[in-house]
């Protein structure tokens, strides 16, 4: 059966007042390598049927993989029973109304190991070049395609095909004391230039030949787009409206309500999501397999458009469902699967920002980022794979790694320069979030709390 036929059969069965049916078809291919050689690889395929049944105000959700046609009724029956057993759902409301999307009947898209047909030989050449140049390459290439089909008993039919590709390249010296990293987000690997990425790594390993020890402290720091992405993704994930309204996050207003409307950054920064943004296109409607603080199964199919989270430096919106929007009195702004940050027009490139730096640190990426204090959104983590000292506009060597303690919210208020935004791959969170466009940032006093011996 096609996914569309599965949706229709599950919706047609009796037993519930309303129903949402989601079919996810997933294919993936990956290559992993270390020390200039392949370590693991694979292809996989998955298929998942999720049935959300509504009986009265009760909701039942059952999700099963590899469902055969004769098993559909069993999954539907289990979801119906769970709905009959459930307490009334607080987020219950009429399902999103809609029609059948024009592309509904198209088959699911797929990937295979063939997506690496050009990449694999290029990697092989890079391994050989690295071996000859005294470098060891480590990394990972992955391509995923998710095709999701959403149907509701109100007649809505939506589908979306989401390709997600990522490449991480990490070069090390043979004694492992120098390390550099580059990453790329891609939809299909046709835009990935392995030789150019490897050249960047070679340059950075050269920079690292001069080692400089620096003590902990607050330093003027240039955050490259990938590091900015990791900090802003955590901020985004922490911006649930309901939690803020309940007084549990940095976006809670003391005494009640939220900080929406409050100035967070002195510079006119925008942080937003936009499903249609070129290069980071993502699904234009809500897909919710379960309800939570930030999403509701009743919102499946809800149309998503550009949403400003921070506009001109002010907190503009928080993530929420139609239900929580009623509770908080704020607009309906569900989560979207990309994140874009931009400053004023005319921002410099990272290279130009380096050239304009008298003395400061240039980071490569941040790692092991964890929340220390939700009240301030204080995060801790490590610098990784290259912290470079910039003096008089040039990189003069590599300094030790640091543990940082910083709040991305507090940091927004201290930024002194926003560079030109570009598509980037976050390092820490790219297992979950790859579609970002971020600028480099200059922070006058980034808190390097202690030295890490790691290199």
């Amino acid at each position: 059966m096609t996914p569309q036929e599965v949706v229709e059969r599950a919706l047609a069965l009796p037993g519930a007042d309303d129903r949402v049916v989601i079919v996810d078809e997933d294919t993936s291919a990956n290559l992993r390598f270390a020390g200039n050689t392949l370590t693991t690889n694979g292809v996989a395929r998955g298929s998942r049927l999720t049935v959300i049944s509504i009986v009265g105000a009760g909701t039942g959700v059952v999700s099963r993989s590899g469902v055969t046609p004769d098993q559909i009724a069993g999954v539907v029956g289990a979801a119906d029973q769970a709905a009959r057993d459930a307490q009334p759902s607080e987020d219950a409301r009429p399902l999103v109304a809609g029609d059948v999307a024009a592309d509904w009947d198209r088959p699911a898209e797929e990937t295979s190991i063939a997506v690496f047909r050009d990449l694999a030989p290029a990697l092989g050449e890079a391994f050989a070049a690295a071996e000859a140049g005294g470098r060891r390459l480590y990394g990972f290439a992955e391509h995923l395609v998710n095709s999701v089909f959403v149907g509701t008993s109100t007649g809505l039919r939506r589908r979306h095909d989401q390709p997600t590709g990522r490449l991480e390249l990490n070069a090390k010296s043979p004694d492992m004391t120098r390390s550099a990293w580059v990453g790329a987000a891609t939809r299909d690997f046709t835009d990935v230039d392995i030789a150019a990425l490897d050249a960047t790594l070679a340059q950075r390993l050269e920079w690292a030949k001069r080692k400089i020890d620096l003590a902990p402290g607050r330093y003027e720091t240039l955050l490259p787009p990938g590091a900015v992405a990791d900090l802003m993704i955590y901020l985004y994930w922490s911006s649930g409206a309901r939690d803020a309204f309940d007084g549990r996050t940095v976006f809670a207003k003391p005494g009640g309500g939220t900080r929406v409307g409050e100035e967070l950054a002195k510079l006119p920064i925008d942080l937003y999501s936009d499903p249609a943004r070129a290069g980071v296109e993502c699904g234009g409607f809500t897909v919710a397999h379960t309800s939570s603080r930030e999403q509701s199964v009743f919102d499946n199919g809800f149309t998503l458009g550009q949403t400003k989270w921070i506009a001109e430096g002010k907190l503009a919106n928080l993530i929420q469902s139609r239900h929580s929007a009623e509770v908080t009195g704020l607009p309906e702004t569900p989560a979207i699967d990309n994140l874009i940050m931009e400053g004023p027009a005319g921002g410099k490139s990272l290279e130009e920002m380096i050239a304009a730096t008298e003395r400061g640190l240039l980071l490569t990426c941040l790692w092991y980022i964890r929340e220390v204090d939700p009240q301030t959104l204080l995060l801790t983590g490590l610098t990784r794979d290259g912290v470079y000292l910039v003096e008089n506009g040039e990189v003069t060597g590599e300094v030790n790694n640091f543990r940082f303690n910083e709040s991305p919210v507090d940091l927004l208020g201290r930024i002194t320069e926003v560079g030109a935004a570009s598509q980037t791959l976050p390092r820490e969170w790219n297992d979950y979030f790859t579609r970002t466009i971020m600028p480099p940032l200059r922070v006058p006093d980034f808190n390097m709390s202690t030295v890490s011996q790691a290199n």
Partner: protein, 497 residues
């Protein structure tokens, strides 16, 4: 002992395995393994005693892993017919062939006896046999009890997993396993003036069934009865003065420090660089085996795949290796690593100690953590006796924030509760505390560990590693332990306030 569910055994396990292994052999594979898994996970989340969301999902599928011309090939599928399985076996061989130009290290595996058997973890009540409404009612009652005692909000969750796994390889090993785990957790939240804070139950996730929620292995009513007052005290506690203190660390916090600074640091794939681009490497490099002074002489750490109720306990791993117990740190010295079959042979360490694991049918096995545990001291002290030996220090309970660098040197942890220790006695809670150290400095500063009666098994469902990312459950047992001269941060000051 419980039995494996009949509906899993009713699947055509051996017929599918035969089809996969035969096809792989026909296509020239030197080694082939077939694994069929069903992982069922149910999660409930309540907020203020109302069900906020639930999910009941399974992941049923199979994987074929081959070695062809010295190169790994892996493919996963979902259609449970001999024809489809054979096709996926052919895909795995193709993946090996496509990947061969990138491979410079031929794959060879340490030998392992052929096994045939069945293993089921220790549990009494299958949580999937308990009606959803009963679970919601229990969590709701517990939540209501906390709300009635003056906390502002309560979140409650219950995660339940049943993992069923059939494995067969070309050497002749055939095993079938089933294990169950549960993790209930409640967090109370309260605001005092302009300050808000929360406190979570210390009950660890365990390899038990629903009986864990009804009196076996943990006393939830007793812990919940104390939570509101403890949270109220925390909200008005003084902020810690940053500096250097002696610490007594409870097992509810120390398990995570063990996990991050010993468990991951003694994974041989990390030490050899296979995780260098992602999870990282390890300061405990292979050349330091049997010489590195990891900690003080009272430090003894084992890896264990056999611990009763351990989250990483199995009968056999995903390379057909029998579960074992082995030494990692003995009398303070690094003496062992966690291994898979390839690395065991490569480094001349003999048999694998059974640490290969895949979190789902769609992922290949990678080297994953055993239950890595700090052993208690025979006739060792109680927590109170450890505290009595501290003049100016802090007693740490419960895990919260954690972070460690990519070579496992520098770490920073917070907790659920911190108590000031003055002249050998507890003197009220402190706020805004984090401890920060370098791994070997920390473990070398350990001057006492508790006795066997203080030993508690902590752990987590969601240890992440590998690319594609995989999660694995793991337990860590330990007694409370005392550490001298540890750096304490004030987290508010760290935030620049």
């Amino acid at each position: 002992m419980r039995q494996i569910d009949p509906d899993f055994l009713a699947l055509p396990l051996r017929r599918l395995a035969d089809a996969a292994l035969q096809r792989a052999r026909e296509l020239g594979a030197e080694f082939a393994a077939f694994r069929l898994e069903r992982v069922r996970a149910e999660t409930l989340r309540l907020f203020d005693a109302r069900l906020e969301g639930s999910s009941d999902a399974d992941d049923l599928g199979f994987a074929v892993r081959v070695v062809k011309n010295g190169t790994w090939g892996f493919a996963g599928g979902i259609t449970l017919t001999p024809e489809a399985v054979a096709e996926v076996a052919a895909q795995a061989v193709l993946v090996a062939e496509v990947s061969a130009p990138l491979n410079r290290e031929p794959i060879e595996l340490a030998t392992e006896p052929v096994h045939e058997g069945v293993w089921v973890s220790s549990y009494d009540v299958d949580p999937f046999d308990v009606p959803l409404r009963d679970k919601v009612a229990l969590l709701g009652d517990w939540s209501s009890g906390l709300l009635a005692k003056g906390v502002d909000h309560v979140s409650a969750s219950l995660m339940q997993v049943k993992e069923q796994k059939f494995y067969a390889d070309s050497a002749g090993t055939v095993t079938t396993q089933q294990r169950v785990r549960v993790h209930p957790a409640l967090t109370a939240m309260k605001t005092e003036g302009s300050t808000f804070d929360d406190m979570r139950t210390l009950a660890p996730p365990v390899g038990r069934g629903y009986e864990y929620l009804t009196g076996t292995g943990w006393d939830f009513p007793a812990e919940l009865a104390e939570l509101p007052d403890l949270l109220a005290e925390k909200l008005t506690a003084p902020s810690v003065k940053a500096g250097t203190y002696d610490l007594v660390v409870d097992p509810s916090n120390l398990w995570l420090t063990i996990h991050e600074s010993i468990g991951h640091a003694t994974e041989l794939d990390r030490a050899l660089g296979y995780e260098a681009a992602y999870a990282g490497t390890s300061f405990a490099t292979f050349d330091q085996l049997n010489t590195l002074t990891y900690g003080s002489p009272i430090m003894n750490v084992t890896g264990d795949r056999t611990a009763d109720h351990g989250l990483a306990s199995v009968g056999w791993d995903d390379e057909g290796v029998q579960g074992q117990r082995f030494d990692i740190v003995r009398d303070g010295t690094l003496v062992g690593y966690q291994l898979d079959r390839r690395m065991a042979l490569m480094k001349g360490l003999g048999r694998s100690n059974g640490c290969a694991f895949a979190d789902s049918p769609g992922h290949p096995p990678i080297q994953r953590m055993a239950n890595v545990s700090l052993q208690p001291a025979e006739n060792g002290p109680s927590a109170e006796e450890l505290i009595a030996g501290v003049d100016d220090g802090i007693y740490v309970l419960g895990d919260k924030s954690w972070s460690i660098d990519m070579q496992r040197y520098n770490f920073q942890f917070t907790g659920q509760r911190f108590y000031k220790i003055e002249n050998g006695r507890l003197a009220g809670q402190l706020r805004d505390v984090a401890y920060q150290a370098t791994t070997t400095d920390f473990w070398r500063s350990m001057d006492a560990v508790g006795g066997p009666e203080t030993y508690v098994l902590g752990g987590a469902f969601n240890c992440g590693k590998g690319q594609p990312g995989q999660v694995a459950p793991v337990s860590h047992g330990c007694p409370p332990a005392r550490f001298r001269g540890v750096k304490i941060l004030n987290t508010v000051q760290e935030g620049g306030k």
